[in-house]
Symmetry: none
Subunit: 203 residues, 4 copies
């Protein structure tokens, strides 16, 4: 029970941290602000997170978890290899996941990872999983020898789209991002792969 309560609080704080990151950016995300947003005391933050880095890390893990959940949901609806690949891609652009604020938070986190070992490790894990998902999704859709390269190409485009969303929110949106990536994928598919069933993103 005790432990449970702690976990609930931790979760609350992680969520408050993520919201704060989105709203005021990395620099202004302080213990005081996070705790006040969570409606908890300032001191409590340090009961659950020994360090500010830990707190931020929890928030970013939460964001990552949401992408994973989105992916699971999208995969559940997919009924062909092609659609499963789309799911892997589109999980990164679902509403609530792809947006100016959250991509900003990711960029800040990435920038910070340069000098923060823990952050770097977390990001590494997340990116590795994304690329693994892409490779898996590509199997059978592109020639075996191309899987690695195409997975990398897609991941570059996803990252680029996130970065551009953060830096140029008014000039770039989810639809453009998906169109670019799907066009890229289309050019790499092995001959004879059918298009996904009426993908709303590829109009």
């Amino acid at each position: 029970m005790r432990e449970r309560l702690g976990s609930v609080r931790r979760q609350e704080l992680a969520e408050a941290t993520l919201l704060t990151l989105e709203e005021v950016g990395f620099r202004a995300t302080t213990g005081a602000r996070v705790s006040s947003r969570a409606g908890l005391s300032h001191g409590l933050v340090h009961h659950y997170f020994k360090t500010k880095s830990e707190m931020i890390e929890a928030a970013i893990r939460l964001a990552s978890t949401r992408i994973s959940q989105e992916l699971v949901a999208l995969l559940a609806e997919a009924s062909s290899p092609r659609e499963r690949l789309c799911a892997v891609i589109e999980a990164n652009f679902a509403p609530g996941i792809y947006g100016t604020r959250i991509t900003h938070a990711w960029m800040s986190f990435g920038a910070e990872a340069a000098t923060n070992e823990r952050f770097a490790r977390v990001l590494h894990v997340i990116y590795r999983r994304m690329r693994s998902n892409l490779r898996h999704g590509l199997r059978g859709l592109v020639p075996a020898d191309d899987v690695e390269a195409v997975a990398t190409g897609i991941s570059l485009m996803i990252d680029g789209a996130w970065m551009r969303c953060a830096l140029d929110p008014d000039g770039f949106d989810r639809d453009q991002a998906l169109k670019q990536i799907h066009d890229y994928v289309a050019g790499r598919l092995a001959p004879g792969v059918p298009a996904p069933r009426g993908d709303p993103a590829i109009r």
Copy 2:
């Protein structure tokens, strides 16, 4: 001469700032650190830059200028439209320009732009110029209707490659980046465009 003296110091400080950004990241790039790296007094920083933002901005402009200079140099050697497009792309990956540290600095700057109007404007100008260069370089190489889309596609890949370089320095290098982008471009070229003259990066 007198007048120039000030500019010289400004330049020195901008360079010191850029080096500091590369080494310790945005957060730790303080007036004290920059000045001590430049071998100057702390107060002097504020003599030349009214604000920390101004200082950072000068550093990033410096980095941007270097890319432009690289581009000019590469264009001077290019002797065909295809090679000129390569120049536009490869200017972003020249040694001294594309590397873990400098891409970190860019990421930091980009992240900060979220809450700093001036930074955002600077980035906007830089990115717009890059995309304009790409469109220009693509003219005649891809069908007119594709220019816009392909330019965007390339820019996404460039950004993605920069981001990945920052986040996964050991697993990704300049050659992979260029190969990815050139493959992408190759798939979009209008029929009959000759390959560039044996660039080692484009195998």
Copy 3:
């Protein structure tokens, strides 16, 4: 109790601020000096006062409160309209209230009010209350049409006496101040008003 603890510290700091203002003037009243005088850490000052202005304001409110308390005490001893007017006047000159250092502090504060909206508001309230007290005290002692003017005249003399105390501490004291003001009042009283019972200030 818990809650009060904060207030106690605030009070301590306000008192330390007032003492510091008296001793070294406005310019030299810094967070560091105040906190060291209070025997507390520098950071704590900003824990209780979001801003230096807030801190100074608290100090000046404290000084004002002391005058009010003095007034209440003096009024309790007054047994005639004439004596009550004296109380209003003399509250401004009680020992511990009227002295070189504290008048300096007031002058500093007043000077600063020129460029500090909050300070200006605080002073306005304080002065308005003083004039209101004077008008009230004068009712029945001077012809109704003169109340306003005499109240203003007295307030000018009080301010002038404070200013002179600050600027010429050795050449002017409480007794001279009171004598001047009482003489002024005496010349304006309606005929037939009795003198105050052996006014201690007019020896």
Copy 4:
């Protein structure tokens, strides 16, 4: 010649200092601001004034000189003892001399005098001269035994009026100040002293 030039520059700087004091207050009156207002180089300030205090002092002496000049001008028009006394008083309230900004500057200067020996000395001289002028002007108008006291009373009112002008610019003006002081004087005049020749301020 050289010396002359220096004096001219000094004067320019003193004037610029006074203007700066009036405009931005004591705290914000810095060497940089003064020099830029004077259209001169920053370093020059310290050629003519070894210290910031010296610079401020020069400005305040300038302001004092202006009051003296005003007094001379008013005395030239006075044709009776009563009018000469008025001149002494009204010199302190002439346009360009009595106003929110300049009284603020005086208050700041006075506040600073608490901890600045030089400032204190300057103020002392100025105030002593004012009181001497008042005593001189009162001779023959009030009983000899009252001269000292009435001079002090007037000076208190003048100071109080300046202070109030600084602190409550909208609620108090030159006319009210003069009326108050003249009423006070009127109540102290020896019997038989004629009123001054139709001064509009003395209704």
